[in-house]
């Protein structure tokens, strides 16, 4: 009897504290909203314009110099596509209803299509590069952001994504760049243009591009060829 009394007494203060400290840095709030537990000293990079709500004391720095430097290729006249978020509280991010996938990087690395990147921990190593051979694809260039280290990354996908293993065998995996979400960094990638006049794959202009991946790893693809950067398009 005594024991049980003690138990219940002891638990009460903990129960009160529980909600203030979510155990997870990032988690889905529904399928298309990301919830980030912010903590000072533990900053976050998020796509500019992706914040839909926050609770607590969170500050946003839209054009952080560090971002401008690293993402210089990605910049256009509008400024950097990433903002630095800092402070304490709960931050909610979304990208026009796209599905959100949180990944806890455990020392791995992943390459993410710039359009499909929603947020990542600021302490991760990251860099932006233009996908070779895909310059000016579909009028907007395809940028990929490589992220590695130990921490959290959130991606967006228009529709439930699918993960496909590149067998590493003789067959390469070809992806419509508009549908590409992310891929393992160690894959070899090359642009492929279908020269056959008769073959028209992919959206639009009559020229077909695909990205060919080879090696051991995976590719994440969304069931949509809508690669419009909605956060960017809003300006």
């Amino acid at each position: 009897m005594h024991q049980s009394m003690n138990h219940s007494m002891n638990q009460q203060p903990f129960a009160g504290a529980a909600p203030a400290q979510p155990a997870v840095r990032m988690e889905n709030h529904g399928s298309s909203m990301l919830k980030v537990a912010m903590q000072s000293g533990h900053d976050l990079f998020a796509r500019t314009g992706s914040m839909v709500a926050y609770e607590g004391y969170i500050q946003y720095e839209p054009n952080a110099p560090a971002v401008r430097q690293r993402a210089s290729q990605w910049l256009t006249g509008e400024g950097a596509p990433l903002m630095r978020c800092s402070g304490d509280g709960l931050l909610y991010l979304a990208d026009y209803g796209a599905d959100v996938v949180c990944i806890n990087l455990n020392g791995d690395s992943i390459s993410v299509n710039g359009t499909n990147l929603l947020a990542f921990d600021a302490h991760l190593q990251w860099g932006v590069e233009r996908v070779k051979g895909m310059a000016k694809f579909a009028g907007q260039g395809l940028f990929n952001v490589g992220v590695s280290g130990t921490g959290w990354v959130a991606l967006t996908s228009r529709g439930t994504p699918i993960v496909v293993d590149c067998g590493g065998g003789e067959d390469e995996t070809y992806v419509d760049p508009d549908a590409l979400v992310a891929w393992s960094t160690n894959l070899r990638m090359k642009g492929k243009r279908s020269f056959k006049a008769s073959s028209l794959i992919g959206r639009g202009s009559g020229e077909a591009y695909q990205l060919g991946f080879s090696g051991q790893g995976f590719v994440v693809v969304q069931p949509s060829e809508d690669s419009t950067d909605r956060l960017r398009a809003r300006g």
């Binding site: 990087l105 590149c166 393992s184 794959i201 069931p223 949509s224």
Partner: protein
């Protein structure tokens, strides 16, 4: 045609076979090793809540015979018959396991497999070799589980402790939670039983009596002497030592539950008859109950039955209420070390862990819906080309050629009227193509010599082997002047895309649909353009005040499909 599964692969059973009567064969062997193949019927929490669904050499079938162990045959070390539609609702997962009997470890096994056979043909095969394992003494080979549909997963996960660890894994939480002292020794008793290889062959119910004798000595470590039917008799002693646990009726239920797997269901009946003093014979269903009435009485004296029982039902998390805590100690030696973690399901950190649930699900079927919006076409299954809407390819693997193909809309005044022209690409070769468009929902429709009309805008892809013809429905008010439809007929699959979840309506004398929202209809239905003048809504210039609906007529059995989206 048999599909090769790799570890971790999953597929809907319905994609493998239309049947629900499955034969599961396991082949596993190694020099000097013998194996026990078992099937655990688990509930939604992946626990062996009902031990009548632990199908193993000593209990070769479940009560309703949905799961039967058939023994060695046709080259398989052991085999089961699973009738999916007879499996009771609370059984959500069948986990097929192999455990090393006696000395040895999994790494010593040679090549083996788990296969599914339906209707006389093998539909799935998961092959493994000992090289994939190390010192484990048990392996979970594959699961047949219910997640919306019955599915099959190739698991291939090793377990260190053999059958005992497996039992704990599936039932361990029961031990702790229900704190049934009898249960723990039982778990201990089980493994010693398992090692008896001689038992495996006779899967029939005749077996039990045979087992009992060897089981007894082996069970020695456990407090109670006899493993099987004896548990019923044995309940009293352990209970005497720890009265509180048994106080609650349900708990008693649970305890025998664990004990029961050792005895085939039939056996229990026998037992209860044999020990009428204990229990009035007909009182109970086989598994646990025999003990209930008799046991009830003694406990009642020790603890207040009703209350004690509610708290015990409470799961983990909370500190156990007093009555439970007392029984806990006896259970601890067994319960505590038990691995509580479910074998799989918990997402590991890291990229792979986070992405696991989105992983490709190959089935070997020609058309596989990966999720509601993504279709995988395996051109290796059948060399027939597939025609798909241009631009719908999101990914492909293998050597596939894409060629241009008009849908035959040209020369039908289409261009001038609408500018809309459906362009198709012909996918040929060997490999897999993933198709999707604008996150529209996809619906594969398998035609077996029947016919369906689909609005051209809603066609995503189809087998070239299907006959199709393009028709146009003209009417004032239809955007572009006409609605193009494609009628498909023959053997093959059409993939239809819809925005949102569509509704399927039967064709009645008064079935109307908006020409912009119609997706498809059965070819037996006749389409009539019906114009309705809307008096109220003709106010703005340029609008004729006429809305065009399509009316459908047809014999009963015809249907139309409408999407919640007007183009």
């Amino acid at each position: 045609m048999s599909r090769e599964f790799q570890r971790g692969h999953k597929a809907k059973i319905s994609d493998l076979t239309a049947g629900t009567d499955l034969y599961v064969g396991v082949q596993i062997s190694g020099p000097g090793l013998s194996f026990d193949i078992s099937c655990f019927g688990l509930d939604a929490d992946e626990r062996l809540a009902d031990d009548r669904y632990f199908i193993f050499f000593n209990q070769p079938k479940s009560p309703e015979e949905a799961i039967q162990q058939l023994g060695a045959q046709a080259g398989d070390t052991d085999s089961f018959r699973v009738t999916l539609d007879r499996i009771p609702a609370h059984i959500r997962k069948l986990s097929f396991t192999a455990t090393v009997d006696g000395a040895g470890q999994m790494s010593q096994t040679g090549p083996g497999y788990l296969r599914l056979v339906a209707g006389g043909t093998e539909v799935a095969r998961y092959s493994f070799t000992g090289a994939e394992f190390s010192t484990e003494r048990a392996v979970m080979l594959g699961d047949i589980y219910l997640k919306d549909f019955w599915r099959f997963a190739a698991v291939g996960q090793g377990f260190d402790g053999g059958l005992e660890a497996l039992l704990r894994n599936f039932g361990g939480e029961v031990l702790e939670e229900e704190a049934a002292p009898e249960a723990a020794p039982q778990a201990a008793a089980a493994p010693p039983q398992a090692p008896a290889p001689a038992f495996a062959p006779p899967p029939q119910a005749s077996a039990p009596p045979v087992f009992a004798p060897p089981g007894v000595p082996q069970a020695a470590p456990a407090p109670q002497q006899a493993p099987t039917p004896p548990p019923v008799h044995n309940f009293p002693p352990p209970q005497g030592s720890t009265p509180p646990p048994a106080a609650a009726a349900p708990q008693v239920h649970a305890a025998p539950t664990l004990a029961a797997p050792i005895a085939p269901p039939g056996y229990f009946d026998g037992a209860s008859h044999a020990a009428p003093g204990h229990t009035p014979p007909g009182v109970v269903p086989p598994p646990g109950p025999p003990g209930v009435p008799g046991q009830h009485a003694p406990y009642g004296q020790h603890a207040a039955p009703p209350q004690a029982y509610a708290p015990q039902q409470q799961p983990y998390g909370m500190p156990a209420p007093p009555p439970v805590q007392q029984p806990a100690p006896p259970a601890q030696p067994y319960g505590v070390p038990a691995p509580v973690t479910p074998a799989h399901g918990a997402a590991a950190p890291g990229v792979q862990g986070a992405l696991e649930k989105y992983r490709e699900a190959p089935t070997g079927q020609r058309w596989t819906l990966q999720n509601s919006k993504l279709m995988r076409v395996d051109l290796g299954v059948d060399p027939q080309p597939v025609l798909a809407r241009q631009g719908s390819m999101v990914l492909y693997q293998g050597k596939i050629d894409f060629g241009y193909k008009g849908a035959g809309f040209m020369g039908r005044i289409v261009g001038s009227a609408t500018g809309q022209e459906m362009q198709l690409m012909r996918c040929t070769g060997r490999g897999q193509v993933f198709l999707a468009e604008n996150s529209a929902n996809l619906h594969p429709i398998q035609l077996e010599n029947d016919a369906i009309c689909v609005a051209a805008e809603s066609v995503l892809a189809f087998d070239e082997s299907l006959h199709y013809e393009v028709r146009r429905i003209e009417g004032h008010g239809i955007p572009g002047g006409a609605l193009f439809t494609m009628q498909f007929q023959g053997m093959g699959t059409v993939v239809v895309k819809t925005h949102g979840t569509p509704v399927v309506l039967p064709v009645t004398p008064t079935t109307f649909a908006d020409s912009n929202a119609i997706v498809a209809w059965s070819a037996g239905a006749q389409v009539i353009i019906s114009s309705q003048v809307r008096l109220r809504r003709n106010a703005y210039p340029g609008h004729s005040g006429e809305a065009v609906n399509l009316q459908f007529r047809g014999a009963p059995g015809n249907f139309i499909v409408v999407q919640p989206y007007e183009v």
